[in-house]
Symmetry: C2
């Protein structure tokens, strides 16, 4: 009789080994970190005695689940912003909050919460991608979970690095520090092909190969990403990263929603692992990954929850179930991805995708003891049929819940016993998380209460024109622009600096609280003399409420105005700012930059097309910076108006948006 540390006995043992052996009354013997025997309960009892014997009648003893893709610290951002489009969610909420709050402590706290939640759902190993990954690793190791920790590298400044060179240096140190740890495998995580330059991708691949560590990356998550890659690099995402050597590393590609058969073959040839994230892909409307084809082609496809800010939990039971049923719905074949295969993806195959199959993912002699015990003696798991030998898989995948997980062990150490977590203090974590949530709330509420702050949060803003002197007149008849300005341009004191011709499509966002000001999204189509578009520019302008003061025949406007290039579609800004009302103004604009008595004026001759306003508008504007300057310029405006033949009755005080808004 050999003495071992622990024997789990009397349950249904699902080994998930290559033969998919099942022992209906089985047992597992554990010594130190390792599994030393798996088999029928009787035969184990004949050969081993244990310090600790755990009876598992009516329960399933199986390898712990493998969460092949997550961002553990984001538990702290769970439920912060939902039901939003990816860009609004990411650029509008996640990134600004991360820039302000993510630090080493945040990552440790968030990871511990994630680990606690994952242990509760039977997970023993996860693949992570985040910032300050050394702290993620430290927290996971402290809790006792197994993890492949990928340090993020990307082309933008990140919470943990101001440049990619800095991230890469940090990653190298991180790998050297953690390589060889019994629980943690450090990894390189270039965030995604669209957030990394060719140089970054190549450098990350080289680093992964240099240290023989996994490389984690998001790949072809959205259709847009693939289209953009075709446009920018003349090829889809997978060929590009292949060319850059990314697939020559031990690569785990997350999502892979929009990959074709050729790309799947490429993955197979490179033994690239895939992390399938069905909940996240549905919730963010990315699409449905072709996992049946991947599996048929022989890829190692694991299942991941993705981060808890886009899921919004780390429940692998929900994830496995969804992977199984979604594949059926997507292929219109109810025999696709049966329960047994789905559970395999969430165990041994997930470990293969993570290059960890040598030590975990199945109950086999010599592997580490990473084990979950599931209680099937509950109402929602009843009754139990034995006709179909695969019924136990179907029960686990289609009926069981994460809350049926009773015990969890990693590396031979209990992390949860009888649903009690042994290595984390849940109450303390909860209290700390909620305190942090209140801080984040305050930060975002302050920002949401101020349009300008919201604009600044998404970046690229520059302040412009704080004062301007202007006059606007309306000629009831439609007049040709060149004709109307001809007398003025003929004047010898006037010099034309520039002439341009536009069609402008303006969308104004207005808000309940008018003191908030408003936001204008403008598409400026520059036209040639034939009216053909020669250039398009989109800009976003925030305008604070206007204070105006009469000044001779002109008006002095004092207002703050912030302009940023509008790099995202109008839809983004609409969903981000959530205006109370929205108005359209379309017009043609002939614009002359003129010098009159040495002062720069803008002379606009506008025709409003939407809403339909007949006649022609003339605007004269000049930037100003002091009352004295304004006092000097006001009479010059008067003179210009006289030259144009514009009279006082033609004066208009309304702004263009007001024609649309009334």
């Amino acid at each position: 009789m050999e003495r071992v540390d622990k024997i789990l006995s009397g349950g249904i043992v699902l080994t998930m080994n290559a033969a998919m052996d099942v022992f209906l009354n089985g047992a597992v013997a554990i010594k130190g970190e390792h599994i030393v025997a798996v088999g029928a309960a009787e035969s184990i009892a004949d050969r081993y005695t244990a310090d600790e014997l755990v009876l598992c009648e009516g329960q399933v003893i199986m390898p712990g689940l493998v969460n092949a893709h997550t961002h553990a610290p984001m538990t702290l951002l769970r439920g912060l912003a939902d039901d939003l489009r990816l860009d609004v969610w990411l650029i509008g909420y996640m990134m600004p909050t991360e820039q302000s709050f993510v630090n080493p402590h945040f990552c440790r706290l968030g990871t511990k919460i994630a680990c606690a939640e994952m242990i509760r759902s039977g997970v023993t190993m996860f693949a992570d991608m985040y910032y300050f990954e050394a702290d993620v690793a430290a927290a996971a190791a402290e809790v006792g979970m197994r993890a492949v920790c990928g340090q993020t590298v990307l082309k933008f400044p990140a919470p943990d690095a101001s440049s990619y060179e800095e991230s890469l240096q940090y990653t190298r140190q991180f790998i050297e520090q953690w390589k060889g740890h019994p629980l943690i495998v450090p990894a390189v995580a270039p965030h995604a092909p669209y957030t990394c330059t060719d140089e970054i991708l190549s450098a990350c691949a080289a680093l992964a190969r240099e240290y023989d560590v996994p490389l984690l990356i998001h790949v072809s998550e959205t259709r847009q990403e693939v289209e953009d890659s075709r446009k920018e690099f003349q090829m889809p995402v997978v060929p590009r990263i292949k060319k850059l050597g990314v697939l020559d590393a031990k690569t785990l590609a997350a999502h892979c929603v929009h990959v074709d058969s050729g790309e799947i073959r490429t993955f197979f040839n490179h033994r690239t692992g895939v992390a399938h994230c069905p909940t996240s892909n549905l919730k963010l409307a990315s699409g449905i990954a072709p996992i049946r084809e991947m599996l048929e082609r022989g890829l190692n496809v694991g299942i991941g929850t993705d981060g808890p800010a886009s899921n919004n939990d780390l429940d692998m039971f929900e994830e496995v179930r969804l992977a199984a049923i979604l594949a059926k719905g997507a292929t219109l074949d109810p025999t696709a991805v049966p329960a047994k295969q789905a559970l395999l993806m969430a165990t041994r195959m997930g470990a293969q995708a993570m290059y960890m199959e040598a030590i975990t993912g199945s109950l086999e002699v010599g592997k580490r003891a990473d084990i979950a015990v599931i209680n099937l003696n509950t109402l929602h798991n009843s009754p139990k049929f034995s006709r179909d030998e695969d019924a136990v898989y179907s029960q686990l995948v289609y009926a069981a819940k994460s809350t049926d997980v009773r015990h969890v062990m990693v590396n031979g150490v209990w992390l949860m016993y009888d649903q009690r977590l042994l290595t984390v203090d849940e109450a303390a974590l909860l209290a700390e998380a909620n305190a942090l949530a209140r801080e984040i709330d305050r930060f975002l509420i302050a920002r949401e209460g101020n349009l300008l702050n919201k604009l600044i949060a998404i970046g690229g803003v520059e302040r412009a024109e704080s004062f301007e002197i202007q006059v606007k007149s309306h000629l009831p008849e439609r007049v040709d622009a060149e004709t109307i300005v001809a007398p003025l341009l003929k004047d010898e004191r006037v010099r034309v600096v520039r002439k341009s011709y536009y069609r402008q499509y303006d969308t104004y966002f207005t808000f309940q609280d008018e003191t908030q000001g408003r936001v204008r999204y403008r598409e400026d189509d520059a036209l040639n003399a034939e009216g053909e578009v020669i250039n398009v520019r989109t800009r976003l302008t925030y305008t604070s409420p206007v204070k105006e003061r009469e000044f001779d025949r002109a008006v002095l406007l004092s207002r703050s105005r912030f302009i940023a290039p509008a790099t995202r579609p109008l839809r983004f800004y609409r969903e981000y700012f959530r205006p109370n009302a929205e108005y359209e103004v379309h017009k043609t604009r002939h614009r002359w930059h003129i010098l009159y008595k040495g002062v720069l004026f803008y002379l606009n001759v506008d025709e409003i097309l939407v809403p339909k306003v007949s006649g022609t508008f003339i605007e004269i504007k000049s930037q100003t910076w002091s009352m004295r300057d304004a006092e000097y310029k006001a009479p010059l405006v008067s003179e210009l108006l006289t030259l144009l033949g514009v009279t006082e009755e033609m004066r208009v005080h309304k702004e263009y948006v007001e024609f649309a808004a009334t």
Copy 2:
């Protein structure tokens, strides 16, 4: 101060009323069966005192969830057969098992288990469709749940009726017996348009209108159903049932996966409710219902789990979550069906779809007290953000689990308190369910062990030919059929009764255990003289292992043979019988029915196309029923062979399938 029975106070009250009022520190006062006040905790405390005060800090107080479509007693068949195609699952497993096991006791037991599970997941009302619905109603009422109970009517014999007239009569009695019950609303449930004749559908609609009770029906669940309806009735499903008056009742249509915009408009015009069943629709690969469009058109769309044999649980939290994320994935729009709307579908809107909104579905004064209290103080529900006022909906839908439900009340009565079920004995139900499962196991294992029983289980079988005398010969050269039989046909003792010409496509299923016999699926294409197909017939033949005995130059075969028209595709039989191996034999067959000396013989001249076997085969066969008859016929076969010029060396003992199998 008014005295009430119960006050739930201090939680976040989600009223789900028309204004979607939320009280962050709210309370609900209950007197008898009714809600008498909903509002801020303080204001309720000022106005009412209660016999029972339940403090709900950190918890959500909301209307109980509404499961808009299920088949409650099928809890007893949960996990019996999974990952199968709908027809194999239904015709191969569900229907035969139901025919043998479903009785009033089965329905009561299964319903109680379903109720227990639903209460645990916060459900207070469900819509049911099954057999012996009076027993479903009795069990639900005993447990204390609210239910709309639809008695199934269909054109086939059912466990509770041998004809539709009988079901209809049963339904009428059921309605009269239960109408006016405080918890149960009886209803008519014509199973589906494809399982009901026009007459049945009209009669059910008339009955529903006569008693003003709901009508529950499955509608357009699969694409096949719609295509079949177009073929058979020259219109899709919805116009057909509209024409038959089905939509003039208070109709709740389940599934509605394959409905177009026009049909959605038809539903709107008739105020037809829809029960959306996302898990079932994915798991059975039916497709994805266009619920966003339905919601935009103003339909009342509830959410249902469907029966636990196709889900495989009754967890409405999983269902609501899936409804929300699947709509986003299906429309490629992450803003589709936000959490708030999904939760509305699972509460008030579900009640509207079931015509029950006057009494339940929201927390409003005057409605019945059907309430669930959910604990959000758990790790997977943390942290909590307050910036977005809809965050609580998102937390409930995307992060919370059914196991977070703490208390459940129906009609003012606690059914679960502190996660303890008060009106059912779970342990006793479990024991009984497992005992029944063992019986079903025995039944199905016995059936699965016997091919003939498996064949009989799916119906339409007739026994045929128990003995036949036959001889088969092979001519190594290909010979024209007419030429070879010419000498025989010229003989004056021979009279041709019928001549036919076929191309036959045979698929043989063989099994590990050869004593099981085998199954042949034959497609018989009758050809005209030009070789054009004039008729197609498919048949299934079960053959027991052959016992043969030499008889002069012929062979006496004694075997059992059962023939049934093969009304389902080959694929069905393959998935149902799961053969060990499968062989194809394609041949052309010229067949003469001849009388020779007054005895009927079949004379086949066959050419085997697949597998490629050169030459021509001649078979002579005759049915026989006794040894004496065989003894009489054997020399006649010899004489016919002589007439054909066939010699002993040409004799073949192999059956055609053996050419393919070797």
